[in-house]
Amino acid sequence: MASPVSNGAERQSGSLVVVRSVDEVTSETFVRITADGSVTAYNGHVDLGTGIRTALGQIVAEELDVSFARVVIVLGDTALVPNQGATIASETIQITAVPLRKAAAQARQFLIARAAERLELPEVDLRIEDGLVRGHDNRSVSYGELIGGEEIRLELADDVAVKPVGDYAIVGQSVPRVDLPAKATGELTFVHDIRVPGMLHGRVVRPPYAGVDAGPFVGTSLLAVDESSVRDIPGLVAVVRIGDFVGIVAEREENAIRAAEQLKVSWKPTPALNDLSDVETALRANPSTPRTLIDKGDVDAAISGAAKPMQRTYVWPYQMHASIGPSCAVADFADGNIRVWSGTQNPHVLRSDLALLIERPESEIEVIRLEAAGCYGRNCADDVTADALLLSRAVGHPVRVQLTREQEHAWEPKGTAQLIDVNGGLDANGGIAAYDLATRYPSNAAPTLALLLTGRIASEPAVLQMGDRTAIPPYDYDHMRVVAHDMPPIVRASWFRGVSALPNTFAHESYIDEAATEAGVDPIQYRLRYLRDQRAVDLVNAVAERAGWTPRPVREEKYGDIVHGRGFAYALYVHSKFPGYGAAWSAWVADVAVNKTTGDVSVTRVVAGQDSGLMINPDGVRHQIHGNVIQSTSRALREEVSFERGAVAAREWGAYPIIPFPDVPKIDVLMLPRADQPPLGVGESASVPSAAAIANAIFDATGVRFREPPFTPERILRGLHGAAPATPQALPARAKPSSHIWENPFAKRAGIVATIAAVCTAAIGIGAALLPGRAIAPIARPDASVYSAATIARGQQLAAFGNCAECHTTRNGALYAGGRALETPFGTIYATNITPDVETGIGAWSYPAFERAMRDGLHRDGRQLYPAFPYTHFSKTNDADMQALYAYLMTQPAVHATAPANTLAFPFNLRQLLAGWNALFHQTKEFKPDPAKSEAWNRGAYLVESLGHCSGCHSPRNALGAEQGNAYLAGGFAEGWEAPPLTSLSHAPIPWSEDELFAYLRTGHSRYHGVAAGPMAPVVRDLKALPDQDIRAMAVYLNSFNDAATDAVALAAKLESATQVTTGSSTGARLYQGACAVCHEVGGLPLFGSRPSLALNSNLHSATSDNLIQVILHGIAAPVSSDLGYMPAFRNSMSDAQIEELVTFLRKQFAPDKPAWTGVRETIARVRTSTH
């Protein structure tokens, strides 16, 4: 088959078309054959990744007698293809392909008749090979020649004879998918890949009522959009607001992303939404209208006469389509010629919506459908197309809008929760006495979001009648009543693979399994009693045989921690408007293993049998069955949308996990050969028996019935052990071995008397007692030429080492020009300008003034400097280094900039008090080496204690903000981050060693501790200025405060193997598996960057959760070096509650001997609003 093109159908000299007239002026084309012999076929459905493009090509090639390669299939372009409704319910082959097949057959019949005339031979004597009609005398004429320059137009006839199946040569053969070579090489243009000239990039900002589309607040909640909040975004084109629709357009995509994140939008508080923590109660409370689908026999009498009444309730959860690619679209709003490129599953319906949205006639709008990520129902493809159109209209350029993962998760119309009550029971013979089913399906077609957000349509939810799919069981019960309680959605919901049939079948197939157990009859035998459909009976028997089903009238008790079980379920997927019609027949035998300790269920093998009638492309059918088995197993085991206060909370894959490779069952597909029967929809049918087969297998394994998927470990444990789950208790906290509290070997030792005096001085504020220094006269800025290049270079190294720029430079600001806000417990201090600008910097400072500032904390003019400036450390700098630093700073470019005034609370705004502070806590003394120690130790001590000022962050501070000399390097806090203890007080599970300290300070990474992040990352980056021997010296010095070395390799292996995460047994564990494990799991495939081991990470073992929460919320965007890799920020993807679950899990899992953190929720709230 030729490569797909979406805008083909160029007019050749002559052509033959088969059309269906819609009215006097419009017609729809199904098949076009041109004089060059090429064949284009048009179908209103689209390929959602299932391979229908290939299958339709086979059908057309077969009926036309041309080679498969000659056919081009055009799908979903509203300007070209017939309107055949939405691509839903697996109808394409079963329903939509029918006119196409007829059109092809009709064209062939026309052409062969014409050939007979041309060749003057009877039709029966003609053979066709790839469009070449040949007589027995070997004369031939091609389709193209038969068409010539003519414009032949055939009206599609209803009564066209199609080929007998026995003559099929192309249909029924496995044909490779035509789209895969392009997909495997990046050459296929998905809708995400469309680029049109002049295209801009848009993003939308969605309202806070995430995933809710009904209620008076929908479209009416926007208060204000502060456009000034995005003024700094380069290439920003527009901010657009219409009702609750908010969008942004920028020239570059990354800037549109930034703008959408940064845009300040205020919304009215959302009124209380429906509580969805208990889905059953919410669905019962939802208003509904009963609609009886069948009422046969005397159900009430049969129930009251039942020998064993059985009343059961089955609850299906909210689930997501969960397309791998968030929806994307491009729109080009040009007057009278409006084009959108969309991944929609219903181009014509979408065109109507767009016409309504922008108040233009449909005829002006063309919807061009391109392939997108699989959707399995209604996702956000239409929403994003409408969004793009609104933005394109606003800016007069083509605009591409890409929804974020978070938006797709939150706003996609969900596969709805469903509630099914079954009343009935067994009669005296063990038969089903009665079957009285009521089903509640709160879903509709999910109106395109922009229509609601802009107020174009009312937010009154429509009630659709879609809960009835397969609501009538396939079993011939004598007394049976089925009622669909039609109801509006509670949250935004629409069809998802299997629609209501999957949950309804879960009820049918669970109930009959329960009944069989009660009756003491083998579950398959029991079903066969009630199955009247021979094709169903054949399939059930074939699947039982293939699976090696052993009849089991009585369940056998299983023993051990891991128990195995086997379950059966069957369904004929009945879809479309009630009473609907059947797609393929499907039956499953599922094998499970249940871990009774962890609650983990694995589906180990599925035998999936199907009768799909004639299979157009058998390999395609097999792949679809595989896909449906895997997806529905995922849904049954793990999928459930979480809500917080009624809004969708799951916004990434950790909160909505789908099945990963290792958990995929072995699948054995059995396809019944039914070439003599009409082809049926194949894929979706295979999903329908899934959950029931798995639940029945879990029952076989455990003896416990589970009537509410997903069958997560928590549910299984609750079911097995009652309300109190047998969760393994956290290990008791291990007593910390006693450790030294180290004193700073260089700290000022103040006597008691002096302390009291100084405290009095400070408290009373007798500034006069200790006058600040005198002003030192300004000088002309020294000439740079007086300093040698070597001195300047040395100074540069020292400035880097001292992290001067870190405080004295704002983000993206001029180097050393000051202005950065430093948050202290006493208020905000703004770092000063230390460029050599004479007026606003230190250009007029002589060396003595500079040295006095560095050693005494006095400004040139004599006023006290706040000790946020670590002069207590800098004072220890030796003269040579001090001079080099001065030389370097004085030779930097002067920047005229005045820092904002400090905002310190009283009394800290009184600088005079600092004299008292200095008297207490500061001594102006150069570093003196300790002769008893090694040269390296002393070098390290000098570096750490002077410009390095490590203890400035890593030692705790007292109430007056001074380092506590008697708790040297015992850990402190800086800029919202914990600076962990560097001594034997370290919380790290593996004590630091000289080599690890060296590795960490040199590279920012230690295998046994983690990576430098937060304020430590720039520190390590600045340490690059120092040679290895200086870093080694610092490591030697710092390590002297640690205990003796341990066998780190052995301990690491032990800790890592003891903390492996094997099951997703809690929300926190699943968040870890979905969001963290890819980079943090021990032993995974190497990825770009480091792979920090959480079992060894100091932050997981710390007394406070701050650092862990910092990196989760804000990520690591600027690591020490790119070799270490980057960590994304999760602040916009996870809620506080989710992060609390995650953090709590991580602590318990990876630091099992440490007590749980307290105040995690408060820390999250604090860190979320912090700037670091």
Binding site: P176, A184, I324, G374, G627, E652, P662, N812, L1087, P1128
Partner: protein, 160 residues
């Protein structure tokens, strides 16, 4: 936000791009270099659709700023082969029909490429573990696993 041009080596060719330093590599590859193989899936490195090779290692290009890629060797799906001359891994995926919608396919192929570079004959368990964090929603796992086995020359034809 500095706008100094960043020099990248992508699929063997050197490019200078004028994107902000913090721009994720993914957007530069797609929008500046028109390389459509890597796809946006989650922006958090969770799903793997954006995978490229950086200095031979699989990398999630949605979470790596372009500035971190300066001077590094980047290979995308397009760099492996074309429809006419596919790479052995691409060919194996085509032969096994290992895609439905194909959106995750880039990540599957690139991760397989990286796996086979360090483990040319992985066991099925190793292949499953290597692809553990590449998500597929269509359920093409069976065909993908066969493609990995085929690409490593150890497909047992009997298996299905």
């Amino acid at each position: 936000m500095t706008q100094t041009p960043i020099r990248l080596t992508v699929n063997g060719a050197i490019h200078e791009v004028a994107a902000a330093a913090e721009t994720p590599l993914l957007y530069v590859l797609r929008n500046d270099l028109a390389l459509n193989g890597p796809k946006y899936g989650c922006g958090l490195g969770e799903c793997g659709t954006c995978t490229v090779l950086i200095d031979g290692a699989p990398a999630r290009s949605c979470v790596i700023p372009v500035s971190g890629c300066a001077g590094r060797d980047i290979v995308t799906l397009e760099g492996l082969g074309t429809r006419d001359k596919p790479d052995v891994v691409q060919q194996a995926f085509i032969d096994e029909q290992a895609a439905q919608c194909g959106y995750c396919l880039n990540g599957m192929i690139m991760t397989t490429k990286a796996l086979l570079a360090i483990n040319p004959r992985p066991t099925e368990q190793e292949a499953l573990a290597a692809l553990r964090y590449n998500l597929c929603r269509c359920g093409t796992h069976v065909e993908i696993l066969r493609a990995v086995m085929r690409a490593s020359g150890q497909l047992t034809e009997a298996a299905d």
